[in-house]
């Protein structure tokens, strides 16, 4: 049964994006907002807006009872959670299910299963998808040496009982293992009351790659190619691109196939992303986790495939099925997205909320801007600082970079500081141009170079 009225349980640019996708399909929209977001672009576009609670997200965007109550009270038959907030909380999906509202996302049990690292890893292994090679508990130095020979140096030893780096050390040689083993055991014992350690292969040069998939919930799954999101600071992505061009094509194809296999095995419903770590030196990929929602960077996949991923989410949630097979997904060119955050990259990324006094976005072939910002918009201090995403598509990676740099140069934003100057710096850096960066590149090389260039 196709969706007639959709409740949008999010804010910012993704609320605008979801409302547009719904409108294109003739679906009425109700937007749930906090008191701080009453007069936003999304609130103007939606057929109706309901004020859920005060500005604090815990009393508005993060309260599934208020959201589902508002969805029911306004006669909605479906709910889109966007990303962040409650999008990956089984409680919201479960409450929607109880109330007969179609949740635009996976089933609650799927979300719970993928949300737990251990059960997600078990699922990947059951589907024959490679995880970072590692061991079970290691009881002695002799056992550790044997395991390291098998896995190949460098390796990392971690405490079985905890995280936070305690009991953890990297070993590049057997001598490193001998030097660190006893101390790490004692540290683990002291910190967690459990001296046991385990070992994983250490990936020296890693790239963050991920596969966009869409499942029908019956085992039917198609993928929309791979993205590379290696430009990160403290695990926050700044620049994303598609395809993951740094990966050799046969390896990328194998990874895409593995992502489809995993999601088919889980009878995954809706859009999702399977994240992998790409070990550049070994030419291998390892499963990290599944994000059971639409992601911020979905537009780069849309750019190279021409698909409307949010529209497809709505079709699947409305019971219309995928409507396309893998061979219908065609790939064309290269796309890059930069996130525009209201943060000062020259002041340790301090949030820079405030009123946007000028907002003159660029236009041109291959450009897309997803945003809720405009002149006069007050960037509120309560939420994520992202105010937009600028995406450039071109026939080649080089042309996409050129278009994006030109677009950043033409973009006039006044009133708030943004991360665009940093994005421009990265895009024009020789390492990015040559596509030889890793997940540690920005923090180790990019940011120091940016600071020095100031």
């Amino acid at each position: 049964m196709a969706i007639r009225r959709l409740f949008v349980a999010n804010r910012g640019e993704i609320a605008v994006r979801i409302i547009r996708a719904a409108q294109a399909r003739g679906i009425a929209t109700v937007l749930g907002v906090s008191a701080a977001d009453r007069e936003t672009l999304g609130a103007e576009m939606a057929d109706r807006t309901v004020v859920l609670g005060p500005a604090a997200a815990a009393k508005s965007y993060l309260d599934e009872r208020l959201i589902v109550h508002a969805a029911k009270a306004t006669g909605c038959d479906a709910l889109h959670p966007g990303y962040g907030f409650l999008s990956e909380k089984p409680a919201l999906a479960a409450l929607c299910e109880e109330e007969g509202i179609a949740f635009v996302g996976p089933r609650p049990d799927t979300i719970a299963r993928l949300g737990d690292k251990m059960s997600a890893r078990a699922l990947a292994q059951a589907a024959g998808v490679p995880c970072v090679p590692g061991t079970d508990h290691i009881a002695s130095l002799a056992e550790a040496r044997a395991a390291a020979e098998r896995l190949g140096y460098p390796v990392v030893m971690k405490a079985s009982a905890g995280g936070g780096g305690r009991g953890m050390f990297r070993a590049d040689t057997p001598a490193d293992l001998a030097a660190g083993f006893d101390r790490a055991s004692r540290e683990a014992e002291g910190a967690f009351g459990d001296p046991r350690l385990y070992m994983e292969r250490f990936v020296t040069a890693a790239r963050h790659v991920e596969v966009q998939i869409l499942g029908d919930g019956q085992g039917g799954v198609v993928h929309f190619g791979a993205r590379d999101c290696s430009v990160q600071r403290r695990y926050q992505k700044l620049i994303e691109e598609a395809p993951a061009a740094a990966m050799p094509a046969p390896l990328r194809a194998a990874m895409q196939e593995a992502a489809v296999r995993l999601c088919a095995h889980a009878h995954y419903r809706a859009a999702g992303t399977v994240e992998f770590l790409y070990d550049v030196a070994r030419g291998a990929f390892y499963f990290i986790e599944v994000n059971s929602r639409i992601q911020v960077e979905h537009p780069v996949s849309e750019a190279i495939t021409g698909a409307d991923l949010i529209g497809l989410q709505l079709a699947v949630a409305g019971g219309e099925g995928l409507g396309l097979a893998q061979e219908d997904v065609r790939f064309d060119g290269h796309a890059i997205e930069v996130r525009i955050n209201a943060e000062d990259p020259r002041a340790d990324f301090a949030p820079a909320p405030g009123r946007i006094t000028r907002w003159e976005p660029p236009a041109g072939p291959g450009l897309r801007l997803d945003t809720h910002a405009r002149a006069g918009y007050l960037v509120p201090p309560f939420y994520d600082s992202m105010i937009g995403k600028l995406i450039a598509h071109g026939p080649t990676r080089a042309s996409a970079i050129d278009r994006l740099v030109a677009a950043i140069d033409a973009f006039v934003i006044e009133g708030v500081r943004t991360t665009l100057p940093l994005a421009r710096f990265i895009l024009t850096h020789p390492d990015f141009r040559a596509d030889r960066i890793t997940t540690r590149w920005l923090e180790e090389t990019g940011l120091p170079a940016f600071a020095a260039a100031a």
Binding site: G32, S34, A35, A36, E39, V50, V51, L52, G53, P54, K59, S60, D63, E64, R65, L66, V68, H69, A70, A73, L95, R355, L378, P380
Partner: protein, 165 residues
């Protein structure tokens, strides 16, 4: 660029007077304008001529201030009035979206009625969201002057529920 509060106030008065003029010239009965300069910085004005029929929506009903000034037949005299009960100093507003209930259960005696004296913290009504009952306490000791919603009314965050002063 920033205006002082005094500037803003006289601007507002001039603006309201201009609206009253438009109302009179065009023989309208009501005119509402919302101007937003920013968050927590807006002006809500409703200019109305007194009519005998009360508006249907309960929340819009005006506090009938100084009715002596204008009878309906007295010609185009506009009475400027800021109407939003949420702005009333005694207003109790909803802390969330939900359904308002005036009694603890259907058919039971309401928590309070107009004219009742209430203590600070005394339950005035319930806002229900997904079967969670949230008792709304009186923010102050006083008298219930008005009840702005009916039993079972859907309310949003910030909606005025009662006036207690």
């Amino acid at each position: 660029m920033t205006k002082t509060p005094t500037d803003r106030h006289s601007d507002d008065v001039a603006f309201i007077e201009a609206l009253a003029g438009i109302l009179a010239r065009n023989d309208l009965t009501e005119l509402a304008v919302r101007r937003t300069w920013g968050e927590d910085d807006s002006l809500d004005v409703r200019v109305a001529r007194h009519t005998t029929v009360a508006p249907a929506a309960p929340v819009v009903q005006a506090v009938a201030a100084a009715p002596a000034t204008a009878a309906a037949s007295a010609g185009p005299v506009a009475a400027p009035a800021v109407e939003d009960p949420a702005q009333h100093p005694g207003a109790v507003t909803s802390p969330m979206v939900g359904t308002a209930y005036l009694a603890p259960e259907p058919g039971a005696t309401p928590f309070v009625s107009v004219g009742a004296t209430v203590a600070e913290g005394q339950t005035l009504l319930i806002i229900e969201a997904m079967k969670t009952m949230n008792q709304i306490p009186s923010p102050r000791a006083g008298v219930v002057r008005r009840i702005l919603i009916e039993d079972g009314t859907p309310v949003e965050y910030g909606a005025p529920l009662m006036i207690v002063e």
